[in-house]
């Protein structure tokens, strides 16, 4: 059985970390990841760039692109894609295609990855 662990935290706080503090946290997390990897239990791991660099595509109607992260609370996180693309416009085109395939009221939040360890499925 595969599980996803989604990480939530206060971005203001993370922004207040010094480079050394950031590196220290990542090192500790890395040790946990290593342990899981040795047991063949770890799939891809990613760290996202801050939400200030996010855009959100609203699926409903005209497929509007908004600056910033997805901010509604009515909808729930149901899935995610990792896409290799040359530009944000390319990702938005892909997201629009996905939206057309599954029209509705939801949204796609587009976030660049600043760290990605793209292992295959564990096991």
């Amino acid at each position: 059985m595969l599980y996803a662990i989604l990480c939530y935290d206060d971005e203001t706080k993370v922004r207040a970390w010094s480079a050394a503090q950031d590196a220290a946290v990542m090192e500790k997390l890395g040790a946990v990841q290593e342990k899981l990897e040795r047991k063949n239990k770890l799939g891809p791991v990613a760290r996202l760039v801050p939400t200030t660099a996010a855009v959100t595509l609203r699926k409903s109607g005209e497929a509007v692109v908004l600056d910033g992260p997805f901010a509604e609370t009515k909808e729930q996180l149901l899935g995610f894609y990792v896409i290799e693309a040359d530009s944000m416009n390319e990702v938005l085109e892909i997201a629009k295609e996905l939206g057309a395939a599954n029209p509705g009221v939801g949204a796609y939040e587009i976030r660049a990855l600043k760290f990605f360890n793209g292992r295959g499925a564990p096991g």
Partner: protein, 417 residues
């Protein structure tokens, strides 16, 4: 980090919002700062037992406000007001009230705080020092070290800056839309200056000055967070990130500057590049170009090419043209001359640089570039003269050493030929 390192982090993170709100209450930087310090002391005493409050900034605002009122009352012998006494005891309900109170003003509070520190009437060095002290919360010794001056000199500089902004009588009402954008522009300019203070440092100083660049990026992200749809702020943040991403590759083991062409691209910081590229892409969707976006786009082209040889100089030349239109300056034209050199050869670049002789005659990079162009054209005597002039204008030993290397190459070449 200490056992309670999370408290330090929470205090640093909450600082701009809390200081911004306290400044609105007390309308005076010193009182606000003192109130915030008192609130931090209370936090250090109570948070280890109580755990972090749900909203650290709201907590600090309430406690700081009460501490400040007590202080003002002591000095001015004001009578106690009942409603102020009512908020002196902190519970979650009050914290929630404080949050509601400040939520709507959050943006203008932080902007006002930033704007007061970066007030256009202050000289640039005072703007940067004040912002580092007040908004980022750096200590005077740390700031003095970054500016390579003594602590007492820095203390004086900050005191003078505070006195100056106190006299400037900045209005405390919510600014109108035009004024708001003027403030954003002034703050963005100061953030850019702060970054360059750190970025332009020589290797020997780069470690001491590194906090300047890091804090500038933090402030840029903060400003972008509160004005999240401003393409120029996306451009500014992207520009700083894309420049800073190259930090580790900018100096060699001996501390000599490594030119962009020769940098080890594997040493560039991929995380900063990813964020910078996402931001510049995002800004361009607005189709409202500005100087920061164009400069960021140029930086983006540099970091996106797999090697120096693959750099898209034709596109960079076009972007410098755009920058000349948006922000005409001889230095921008000089940068375009570099791109022209790569696209059309040294002759065309030299012709373009001829037009800059007047305004840039006292500029190191102008003569450095002329030397390189003349050398490539085989005009050795003129190249030597240009390089010699560049050395006399060098701002650091590393700059002079670099040109001396070019001069040596020139002599070797002349002998061989």
């Amino acid at each position: 980090m200490t056992q309670f390192g999370w408290i330090d982090t929470a205090l640093v993170a909450a600082r701009p919002q809390a200081m911004g709100a306290l400044l609105r209450y007390f309308r005076d930087l010193d009182t606000a700062e003192e109130a915030f310090q008192n609130a931090c002391l209370r936090a250090l005493k109570t948070w280890p037992q109580s755990g972090p409050p749900r909203d650290a900034a709201a907590w600090l605002i309430m406690v700081g406000r009460n501490a400040g009122i007590d202080q003002v009352r002591k000095t001015a012998r004001l009578t106690v007001l009942d409603d102020e006494r009512a908020v002196s005891d902190l519970g979650d309900a009050e914290a929630a009230a404080a949050e509601r109170l400040d939520g709507s003003q959050f943006r203008d509070d932080i902007l006002r705080l930033l704007f007061i520190c970066c007030h256009p009437q202050l000289p640039a060095t005072q703007q940067i020092a004040l912002a580092l002290r007040i908004v980022c919360g750096l200590g005077v010794p740390q700031i003095a070290k970054a500016f390579l001056v003594s602590e007492s000199a820095m203390e004086q500089r900050i005191t003078r800056a505070k006195a100056r902004v106190a006299k400037a009588e900045i209005p405390f009402e919510a600014p109108d839309a035009v004024e708001r954008m003027e403030r954003v522009g002034a703050v963005a300019a100061a953030i850019y200056l702060m970054f360059n203070e750190g970025y332009s440092a020589a290797a020997a100083d780069s470690e001491r000055r590194a906090p300047l660049a890091a804090e500038a990026i933090r402030l840029a992200r903060l400003l972008l967070q509160i004005f999240s749809a401003e393409p120029e702020l996306m451009g500014l943040t992207a520009l700083l990130l894309l420049q800073h991403a190259r930090l580790a590759a900018r100096f060699d083991g001996e501390g000599a500057a490594v030119l962009l062409d020769d940098q080890d691209r594997t040493k560039w910081n991929g995380a900063m590049i990813a964020e910078g590229l996402a931001l510049i892409d995002k800004s361009m969707r607005h189709r409202k170009p500005g100087p920061y976006q164009v400069q960021a786009a140029i930086a983006a082209l540099h970091v996106q090419s797999a090697s120096a040889a693959e750099t898209d100089w034709a596109e960079i030349e076009l972007l410098y043209r755009a920058l000349e239109r948006l922000q005409p300056s001889p230095v921008v034209t000089l940068n375009r001359a570099v791109a022209v050199w790569k696209v059309s050869g040294p002759e065309a670049a030299l012709t373009l640089s001829d037009t800059l002789e007047g305004p840039l005659d006292g500029y190191f990079y102008f003569h450095g570039l002329r030397g390189a162009l003349l050398s490539e054209l085989g005009r050795t005597a003129e190249a030597r003269a240009a390089y010699t002039r560049a050395i006399s204008l060098a701002g650091s030993a590393a700059e002079a050493a670099h040109i001396r290397g070019q001069l040596d190459g020139l002599s070797a070449h002349a002998k061989a030929g």
